[in-house]
Symmetry: C2
Subunit: 213 residues, 2 copies
């Protein structure tokens, strides 16, 4: 089975667990621990050991009986599989509070997301740069895309501009939109949408706190 077809088959719950394994295994790597069993991982991250073994087997990663997985190799294979080692170029659409914050988050680049330019309508920030990332007028989007060929558009605009910005991104040919607005944008099926509404998570958390009162 090719790398691509395996990738295509991977269900989202599995995909979401893989970064947990990676985070834990990276920690072991820093501690110079050489081998880890699925049982040990299980105890630390609260996922069934059999589920962990199944997830990793799906990626063609097999542990040795009584020894477990080689930490270094497991970390590299997980990171490669997750695409964290590749360079994914991205445009930030909307450089307000959240957009600027995301540009400044060096964590993203560690996970393969390379924000190459930001776009906004605010004349006060157009022409400036944030941590070396140039901020352009949104009207330049199409022209700049010819220059940068960004793969991903990150959406951090006010909610009323979410849909129109998503259309602009689609027209200039990005492959995916990472939507930080709480608005449910619609684009053609060719474009991958990843919704990350951190404010919706806040609502869930508040509700759970109230339920315990």
């Amino acid at each position: 089975m090719s790398e691509e077809s395996r990738a295509a088959l991977l269900p989202e719950p599995t995909l979401r667990r893989l970064p947990w394994y990676l985070a834990y295994v990276n920690m072991l790597r820093v501690q110079n621990i050489e081998y880890v069993s699925s049982t040990q991982i299980s105890k630390k991250i609260n996922v069934d050991a059999s589920q962990i073994a199944k997830d990793l087997y799906f990626l063609n990663i097999k542990g040795k009986t009584r020894i477990g997985y080689q930490v270094e190799q497991l970390a590299t294979e997980l990171s490669n599989f997750l695409g964290f080692h590749e360079d994914h170029s991205a445009f930030m659409i909307g450089v307000g509070s959240l957009g600027a914050a995301l540009i400044q988050d060096s964590g993203l680049i560690q996970y393969g997301l390379h924000i190459v330019a930001g776009f906004d309508v605010n004349p006060d920030i157009i022409g400036t740069n944030i941590c070396g990332v140039p901020i352009y007028d949104i009207s330049e989007l199409e022209a700049r895309q010819k220059q940068y060929k960004a793969e991903i558009g990150v959406l951090a605009v006010p909610v009323e501009h979410a849909q129109s910005s998503a259309h602009l991104l689609e027209e200039c040919g990005v492959k995916a939109i990472w939507n930080f607005t709480p608005f449910r944008i619609k684009v053609s099926e060719d474009v991958v949408i990843q919704n990350t509404s951190i404010y919706a998570h806040l609502a869930v958390m508040y509700n759970r706190i109230n339920a315990k009162k």
Copy 2:
């Protein structure tokens, strides 16, 4: 049924949809639109109209036949229900790139999250402030909690310190931990955990892009 017991019963999928409704309705409010039907909301945000009506009915919000929901009232009730109008005090644990970015995100305060102090181990930033939010040494956490009585701890530390920081937060009596690390922290059941691993979302997005290639 009291506000609390209704809150306790609300399933997570419903809770996650409510901020989408709110985002759309807030947009209508800005446009001075007075009424909206579940069918109109449905067309815009890609959720079944019957599901929307059911979700809102659960919150005791009823539309008028042939007219729909009163926009202003719907926005207020949704926002109140979601806890966005209340003030939730929070500590930021780990003021690196992501932690500092979140402190600077004025969006959080609009959604009721008020970060009152940050904590770190880096002597270069201890004693400084970010947008008026003081940064303290992590060793001061317990003492500062007596002063601030923070309800929520936001975790943005390196992954190897996630579990120990979660324990510190639990010991000083926070009600919830908003975990931005990819590490699966464990705390007692009294503490609400909300995981928001934006890097895990990146992995899902990369995988979906590859699957379309």
